[in-house]
């Protein structure tokens, strides 16, 4: 055995997660978004969600949200056992309506951001972030 026991376990654990969880938006994510929007329709545009296409480390994935004029931005990791990640609220004195953080992703999934704009409307953006075993690029 040339992988250490610990690494093999770590690899195995990652693999188990990859197979067990269905990484699609849970019904509950839609419910959670509905809770945030109060059931209002979500539009597009005016909200930028920046996240890597492929995570370098699924345990700490840098993401950034920006929505000029927003009063709040909620972030969901649709495939995590607990999808809500954060809600950023911006007061009237906030210089910019943007926030950056790092999140943990259990596997390949959609990260979803929903912003509440000053006029009470909602916009939504999402991005698929892939979590991969890695190896052998050319």
């Amino acid at each position: 055995m040339d992988f250490t026991r610990r690494e093999t376990l770590a690899l195995g654990a990652g693999a188990a997660l990859l197979t067990v969880l269905p990484f699609r938006a849970f019904a509950s994510v839609d419910d959670l978004i509905n809770d945030f929007t109060g059931g209002a329709e979500t539009g597009e545009g005016g909200l930028e969600l920046t996240a890597p296409e492929i995570a370098e480390n699924g345990n700490t994935v840098p993401i950034e949200v920006s929505a000029p004029g927003a009063t709040a931005i909620a972030v969901f990791a649709a495939g995590n056992p607990a999808p809500p990640v954060a809600t950023f609220n911006f007061g009237p004195l906030a210089a910019a309506q943007e926030a950056a953080t790092r999140i943990r992703l259990a596997g390949t999934q959609d990260v979803i951001a929903v912003a509440q704009m000053a006029d009470g409307s909602f916009v939504r953006a999402s991005k698929t972030v892939k979590v991969t075993i890695g190896g052998c690029g050319g």
């Binding site: 040339d2 992988f3 296409e53 190896g135 052998c136 690029g137």
Partner: protein
């Protein structure tokens, strides 16, 4: 903005050098007489700026053979689009005659016979001659190196990249970007980069802790050439810590970061750039997608996926140039830039036929000096091959079949895994296999050939994961390598399916039995990205295997069935 007329003037080396003979009718001498250095270099200098592009040299300083792939499948929007066109289809597309020098240089098919006729390709002393000739016509031409330069040979490994640094410095590049260089470890990379006499660029090289641009690698560099203010923006390989061991360079984060690329383009344009060149190690399909998203890039010099295209591909107003690998090609791109705009271009992909192009004496001396301390080890003959040994192809290559055989027998395993890298020259039938040849296809800083157990279920996860890195229909989710090579096990792959559904009918070849998801299999492999991987270096495993065989004979590999193309 690019006039149709100028586009039609795009020339291909092939058109200037076609011999009258058909395949198989000439001797080696006649074939080479049909080619001259002047023909290869022929170019009507155009406009006011010249770019010279080399990329993915993988430390190949000496002439080699290099077979282009016969299987290179495109998916999504790139299905059937270059560079995913191979062999005879590629020749029809570009009007290349069968058996011509361009056939041999650019496409697969009849490789062994054509290699006998046309000889080796590459050699950085020949590349130097071509660069010097371009500089004679345009003294202020920009030489840009797309990276994967300080990796891939015996001497590069033993000098930690210093041999390539010294030889490349003799060619006097103006800028460079990176990929495998980082597998030297971040301390060594910093040590070299701090002493480089040219720009080390990467707009997507970030500090991992602060997620801010890394200080050592500026995003861009300005050049004033031919009265034109040129900005060259670097784009390093986006997926380094995923495709390669991130623990070797933990200070850095990468990613495509096309939003930052757009910011950089806007920034250099605001500073007066009249021509914006992206020196990229994205891989061709990623560059194509990026060209459609980021506006304001005039030229993308594309590397990583080792494609050699005789014409640039146009995406909007951006031209994408792909210059092959292993020192086999040099691209020359002449541009007419007026009033802050690219008005036209002329391009030539110059194949480096080693027997036709005279080596540059100065650079040849630098190469010899780098190799001299290792010459005896390099030239030691380990065996001989009756079969063509090559690597490129989506699913297998005969070099990898041999490496997998070596892992199975030397590491006493049921299944072997070998990484789907695209570097590594070819050997033609009848060639002696030297230690240098073995290192050319195995050299890396994480070479340990592990032996471990994996369940059938986990093996499927590995194959599905790698397959999605190649066949995800969105290029931004591709890493640019080929499928992991498998020994001892066959499988079926439907590339049109999503991840988790592509792989089926996994079969243990020794028994013909289906792979049992619950059973443990003894697996040997190499190039693990995990820290602390143990085992002998792969080159020792392969050398032991070849020396036992004496003469290598390989049957065609039929263990992977491909559907959904």
């Amino acid at each position: 903005m690019i006039s149709r007329r100028d586009f039609l003037q795009v020339s291909m080396a092939a058109s200037a050098m076609l011999g009258a003979s058909g395949f198989g009718t000439w001797s080696r001498l006649a074939a080479q007489q049909a080619l001259t250095q002047d023909q290869l270099l022929e170019f009507d200098t155009f406009g006011n700026v010249s770019l010279i592009h080399v990329t993915d040299i993988h430390a190949q300083m000496k002439p080699i053979y290099f077979r282009e792939p016969s299987i290179n499948i495109g998916v999504g929007d790139n299905k059937g689009a270059v560079p995913h066109v191979t062999g005879a289809d590629f020749r029809r597309l570009y009007g290349i005659d069968d058996g011509s020098p361009a056939h041999y240089a650019l496409s697969s098919g009849d490789f062994s016979a054509l290699a006998q006729a046309y000889g080796r390709v590459g050699g950085l002393d020949r590349v130097a001659t071509v660069i010097n000739a371009i500089r004679a016509a345009r003294p202020d031409a920009l030489l840009l190196d797309g990276g994967d330069t300080w990796h891939g040979s015996y001497t590069c490994y033993h000098t930690q990249g210093q041999d390539m640094v010294n030889v490349m410095n003799a060619l006097k590049p103006d800028a460079m970007t990176f990929h495998w260089e980082f597998t030297l470890g971040s301390d060594r990379v910093a040590e070299i980069v701090e002493g480089l006499p040219f720009a080390a660029l990467g707009q997507n090289i970030f500090d991992a802790e602060w997620d801010e641009p890394a200080e050592l690698f500026p995003p861009y560099e300005f050049f004033e050439r031919g009265g034109v203010k040129i900005a060259v923006i670097g784009q390093a390989f986006p997926y380094m810590p995923i495709a390669n061991p991130g623990w070797m360079f933990p200070e850095y984060a990468f990613g495509i970061r096309d939003e930052n690329m757009q910011e950089m383009v806007d920034e250099v344009r605001a500073q007066g750039a009249e021509l914006v060149v992206c020196l990229s190690h994205n891989g061709f399909d990623v560059d194509k997608k990026m060209a459609g998203i980021v506006t304001g890039i005039d030229v993308i010099l594309s590397g990583h996926t080792h494609d050699a295209l005789p014409e640039p591909v146009l995406v909007g107003d951006t031209i994408i140039v792909a210059s092959g690998s292993n020192g086999k090609f040099v691209s020359r791109v002449d541009l007419d830039v007026r009033n802050g705009r690219m008005m036209g271009f002329r391009h030539k992909l110059i194949p480096i036929f080693s027997d036709v192009i005279t080596p540059d004496k100065e650079v040849a001396a630098v190469i010899d000096a780098e190799r001299a301390p290792y010459e005896a080890e390099l030239q030691e003959v380990i065996g001989e091959s009756e079969s063509l040994l090559y690597r490129r192809g989506n699913f297998n290559g005969s070099w990898d079949d041999l490496i997998c055989d070596a892992l199975l027998s030397e590491r006493d395993a049921e299944i072997a895994l070998s990484p789907g890298v695209r570097w590594g020259p070819s050997l033609i039938p009848g060639q002696k296999i030297t230690r240098e040849d073995i290192w050319n296809v195995t050299s890396m800083t994480y070479p340990n050939a592990y032996r471990t157990e994996m369940t059938g279920e986990f093996l499927k996860i590995v194959l599905e994961d790698v397959a999605d890195n190649i066949f995800n229909p969105d290029p931004y989710y591709q890493q640019g390598g080929d499928m992991v090579r498998v020994g001892g096990m066959g499988y079926r792959i439907d590339i049109s399916k999503p991840q988790g559904e592509r792989i089926s009918e996994m079969t243990l070849l020794s028994t013909g039995e289906a792979i049992d998801p619950a059973r443990n299999y003894v697996v040997a492999g190499w190039a693990s990205v995990n820290e602390g991987t143990e085992g002998p270096p792969i080159w020792d495993v392969v050398e032991a295997h070849i020396s036992k065989l004496g003469t290598v004979r390989l049957d065609p590999n039929t263990s992977v069935a491909v559907t959904g193309v």
